[in-house]
Symmetry: C2
């Protein structure tokens, strides 16, 4: 099943939409946060009557397994360029994700541009390390997304000094084109940057993830992505992401706050 089908939503009544968490988008049983954000964002974009997420924040409340879901939306403001929506993704028992986002129509712009940095330096995809799905690890979601890691950022392959950084290429499997909702998947689609250290924690549950989408990516080709963690303190870590498209344009920035597992914190 394509990403587009696996995140499709339908209008039910009033502000309520429905969809399904499809199987196969999980990591060790918990459905990927970027997938849940993309699914919810499709309903939010419909109620916003705008095609693209511009900035969207998700707080993850409960782990999600496959099955039917509803998205309760609340359109807070419609302006000339943007509309802002609050939402909740629910299964029949629980609220799974709380979301808040601003939607708009991202257009190529001749606007003022200034860049203090460029895309990550990556060898071509064929010289990077493909993450291939297995029954447990790497998880089955890598049958849905295609991720190729910079060889320097794969601990077992490289003698480079370890630092909490993961760079690599991302695309959907089977040549499915990338839209701004797939970008929400890309920002949560890589192994945590903290895995690329000498003492990686086993599991870093995400509390909150915010993505800013700056531009619509070209439909075809790989996204160049880079993720870094700078501060582990107070029981938390942040992970900052950048996504660039095949033409070298900045597509998105992301930041998430994750928990350092308790057993590793002392």
């Amino acid at each position: 099943m394509s990403f587009a089908s696996a995140t499709a939503v339908g209008h039910v009544l009033g502000d309520v939409y429905q969809g399904a968490v499809e199987p196969g988008w999980d990591i060790l049983g918990a459905t990927n946060g970027g997938y849940l954000m993309a699914l919810s964002a499709r309903a939010m974009a419909q109620v916003a009557e705008r095609p693209n997420p511009v900035t969207i924040t998700a707080h993850f409340l409960n782990p999600a397994g496959p099955g039917p879901v509803t998205i309760d939306t609340n359109l807070l403001k419609t302006g000339k360029r943007f509309a802002t929506v609050q939402a909740r993704l629910n299964d029949p028992q629980h609220s799974l994700v709380a979301l808040q986002g601003t939607f708009g129509d991202l257009q190529p712009s001749s606007a003022l541009k200034r860049f203090e940095a460029g895309p990550p330096e990556l060898p071509p995809p064929e010289e990077c390390v493909g993450v291939e799905p297995a029954d447990t690890f790497p998880p089955p979601i890598f049958a849905k997304i295609e991720v190729r890691l910079h060889p320097d950022d794969v601990p077992l392959l490289s003698d480079s000094p370890r630092q909490p950084r993961i760079r690599g290429w991302f695309r959907l499997r089977n040549g499915e084109p990338i839209d701004t909702f797939a970008v929400l998947l890309a920002v949560d689609g890589f192994p945590p940057a903290i895995f690329n250290t000498d003492q990686p924690p086993a599991w870093t549950p995400t509390v909150e993830l915010t993505a800013h989408v700056r531009a619509v990516p070209v439909r075809d080709g790989w996204l160049a992505c880079a993720f870094t963690t700078r501060f582990i303190t107070g029981g938390f870590l942040e992970e900052d992401g950048e996504v660039w498209d095949a033409t070298g344009r900045l597509i998105a920035q992301s930041r998430q706050l994750a928990l350092v597992p308790r057993r590793l914190r002392k």
Copy 2:
């Protein structure tokens, strides 16, 4: 009036709290976003029954002037350590700010720590440049907060090459102690980093601001703050902030998405 009094809220009924946007916290007539976030967060923390914002996101819907406000809250989940709340700050006519946040009890932690960077290098406060309020510019809010800028980051004072970075010290006036709500003010209390460039836009309205609070700052002393903008593209810019306390601990990170004014974008 102290910051604590100017952001005090009272319970009305059910999930609704009340307070007031006090005069003097504005920049050219629009009340500061960090102040509005702090005011709302006090109500959210009450309904969460947790003392500290851990991660909070605000979308700014309409400019706010002085006057009575209500905060409509919705407690989404209470867990062992955290509680998550959606909220809206409203004046009698409009929704002003939409918020979503996770609250907890931030404790000094002997946890795993790893830092890839440290506090900004700042001369002592007495060698920095104080921002003193005027009737128009600098705006009157600088009578409420005390900001001292790194001399290298003040365009008219320094011959250093300009870059979109602002570093400096922050505290409340009159020796008022700093709590985690005042930290929300600090992350929006400096001139935009983009002002420190050769062609600064006059005004960059904030679409969305997210702050992660990692620790409770020591009550007394200055906060060391640094703000940078790396990417201006698509009509947007981001501004990333870091806040450190007087003992050198990381207190908060922030990121906002702001609009580059239209007249400057072509």
